[in-house]
């Protein structure tokens, strides 16, 4: 029943992670159980966006007047128990509850993910009931495009793709740029390995992203938008398609949005598996049907982007932050976070951590709070070694910096970057030289080959690391690696090559002893690297 809320709501996680652990079957059992018990007038079962603690999937959330209860690993038999004991009997099934539920959620602040557990991403009416497109409505009826940009500027929102460029400034540059047509692009080419924030947002709340794009289009004067999504995310693509269709039918997208003079059409472009396409000029080339190779900037896409026209490119999470800013005001958003990094940030917690999953925290929370309070620490009581942020462009943060606040400036000061939000935890079973090699291997094969420093430099750096991990390195190799770090950073054409040395530079900075142990003692402290022949001979 659209619009009508039943007193008891059962949200089954319908994100890719839970679906692959059997959430669809769980949902079917719940739906049938509710019908069989004659509870359908009181209980509503629906699919929802990522509920958070992905390690405990399939997840089911039951909410009603008496609060919220999150169930873990809900298999078919457990679903039947939830129906009979909780839904019919009114008693929570304590044995099935997520371990550490309270700790996991206590420090989180949900802005981008506030519809998780509340709306069904495949039914627009459930989203509208929770305020979707309210910001757009307000902007179109009461605000000029300049007012919208003013509100975004006031909020202090910065690009969530990783670089942290002020969003308001970017929008106003595109607004002022002259062109026959303008475009708005959503960069959903989430390529960092170990990052799944954008996937979760697109799967869980596509309307928030579409509304953010529509607001951006209204502000800068664009009539056409593109969402460039990774081909590896079929579920996100399907949900976006559904959302666009429903939004067009409801008059939030298409010609004469909400019967105003403003028109905005959104099309999808499916990526074809090239990491470099996350770089904005490469992404534009890919939308134009070309090989995804970057080009030198300036001119920036804001003045000459897609088909040579002024183009606004923002990341998924950036757009998803916009509707709340319009609805609740820039000042409200700016009250969250730190002096220079406002608002919240979504992180994907993964690796050697007890509670892997999707979290949203206010900027400035410390790394320790994120990893130990929310994430529940390292499994098996092993020691924490490093947290890797920003994927192949980021760095490893050692235990000595666990108390830094997580914001753009602080992360940069310790040699890492905010990045898009992937947060991989490593314990003493990870060899830091091997981790650096892993990322260089990634950059080496994802380098588009257009500029020499990146194409050849990543290969050389990888070869040096390969040698060291085989126990064949020399101390001179460390100096060579450091020289190459500088060379790539200073001379590569785009962000991929410029940031490719970061994993090496940061591990050299904090774990130099591991490099030296590989070289001088032929010893890998984590026991990951296999040393070749010479040792066997000795």
């Amino acid at each position: 029943m659209p619009g009508e809320t039943k007193p008891c709501r059962v949200a089954v996680c319908a994100a890719a992670g839970c679906l692959s652990s059997g959430a669809a079957q769980t949902r079917a059992v719940l739906e049938k159980g509710v019908a069989d018990a004659g509870l359908q007038d009181r209980v509503e079962v629906f699919g929802t966006g990522c509920l958070g603690p992905c390690h405990a999937g399939p997840l089911v959330q039951v909410s009603g007047e008496d609060g919220r209860c999150l169930y873990a690993h809900v298999q078919e038999a457990d679903a039947a128990a939830i129906v009979s004991e909780h839904l019919a009997g009114g008693r929570a099934v304590e044995t099935l509850r997520v371990e550490g539920e309270e700790a996991f959620f206590a420090k989180q602040v949900k802005v981008v993910l506030d519809n998780s557990g509340e709306t069904d991403p495949e039914r627009i009416e459930t989203c509208v009931a929770r305020g979707a497109y309210e910001g757009l409505q307000k902007a179109i009826s009461d605000m000029s495009p300049t007012d919208v940009i003013g509100e975004i500027t006031k909020s202090g929102l910065r690009g969530r793709g990783g670089a942290g460029y002020p969003t308001g400034l970017k929008w106003s540059t595109v607004q002022k740029a002259k062109g026959a047509r303008k475009f708005v692009i959503c960069n959903a080419d989430e390529g960092d390995p170990g990052a799944f924030m954008d996937r979760s947002v697109l799967e869980g709340d596509p309307h928030k992203v579409l509304e953010g794009m529509a607001l951006a289009a209204y502000a800068v004067g664009a009539e056409q938008g593109y969402v460039y999504v990774r081909g590896e995310y079929p579920l996100a693509i399907a949900r976006l398609r559904t959302a666009i269709r429903q939004a067009e039918r409801a008059g939030f997208l298409g010609n004469h949005v909400l019967e105003s003079a403003f028109s905005f059409r959104v099309d999808l472009r499916i990526g074809a598996g090239a990491f470099v396409c996350g770089e904005e000029t490469a992404l534009i080339a890919s939308i134009e049907g070309l090989r995804g190779t970057p080009r030198p900037r300036p001119p920036y896409p804001a003045t000459a982007g897609l088909f040579g026209q002024p183009t606004l490119i923002n990341n998924v999470e950036t757009y998803a932050s916009v509707p709340a800013i319009l609805r609740r005001g820039g000042a409200w958003y700016a009250s969250i976070g730190t002096a220079k990094s406002k608002g919240t940030k979504v992180f994907a917690l993964a690796g050697r951590i007890n509670r892997t999953g999707l979290i949203e925290v206010p900027m400035g929370l410390t790394l320790r709070e994120i990893l130990f309070d929310i994430g529940g620490g390292i499994p098996e009581g092993r020691p924490f070694k490093a947290a890797q942020t920003g994927g192949p462009s980021g760095g490893c943060i050692p235990a000595s910096h666990l108390d830094i606040p997580v914001d753009y400036e602080s992360l940069a000061s310790v040699g890492s970057i905010m990045g898009s939000g992937g947060l991989i935890v490593m314990d003493d079973t990870s060899c830091m030289v091997d981790v650096a090699k892993y990322f260089l291997d990634f950059c080496r094969s994802e380098s588009c080959g257009k500029c020499v420093p990146c194409r050849a430099g990543t290969v050389q750096m990888h070869a040096l690391l390969e040698r060291i991990t085989r126990g064949q390195g020399t101390l001179g190799d460390i100096g060579r690696l450091e020289d190459l770090c500088v060379l790539l950073r200073e001379t590569s054409l785009c962000g991929l090559g410029q940031s490719a040395p970061n994993p090496v530079a940061s591990t050299l900075r904090y774990f130099r002893d591991e490099y030296e142990a590989h070289i001088t003692e032929r010893r890998c402290v984590a026991g990951v690297c296999r040393f070749a022949a010479a040792e066997a001979a000795s």
Binding site: S20, G231, A274, L290, R352, T356, G422, V435
Partner: protein, 176 residues
Amino acid sequence: MPTQATPAASVGPAGAPAPADKRLKMLDATVKKHQARSDALIEVLHHAQELYGYLDADVLLYVSRTLRVPASRVYGVATFYNFFTLKPSGEHTCVVCLGTACYVKGAGQVLDALESAHAVRAGETTSDGRLSLVTARCLGACGLAPAVVFDGEVAGRVAVAAALERTRQWTDGHAR
């Protein structure tokens, strides 16, 4: 590639891969939907691969003609992106995710074991055509690390033994 492929392309009308094939009509519909614009190249290749399973020279040439894009550019795009494959894949596909979370949790060992058990390298197909072993950069299923996709079905926390068992069912199920 283009010069070698020309004779093969003359088999069907306009280099059609297989005459009287419904798939070609479906591909034409996609081209039409995009008004045969050259910037739809990647979209059209996506659909072609969906229909045919892979992109052979005939298909590439056909796309080149219908979109009026030089064959060299079509080939350039098809080989640039990891998603497109120019060779047919095996009967079954096993994708090992090598994202950071999976790597930290031992996906490398799973891949090594699969490679040696089936005498195939990542990105290749076994000589009997039964199994294609593929790696992925990140499936975004990091909560389930290490993740492996068996014929489109994502499995989480896959141990070496489990991966070998699943794939051996495919490869050993038939008499050698």
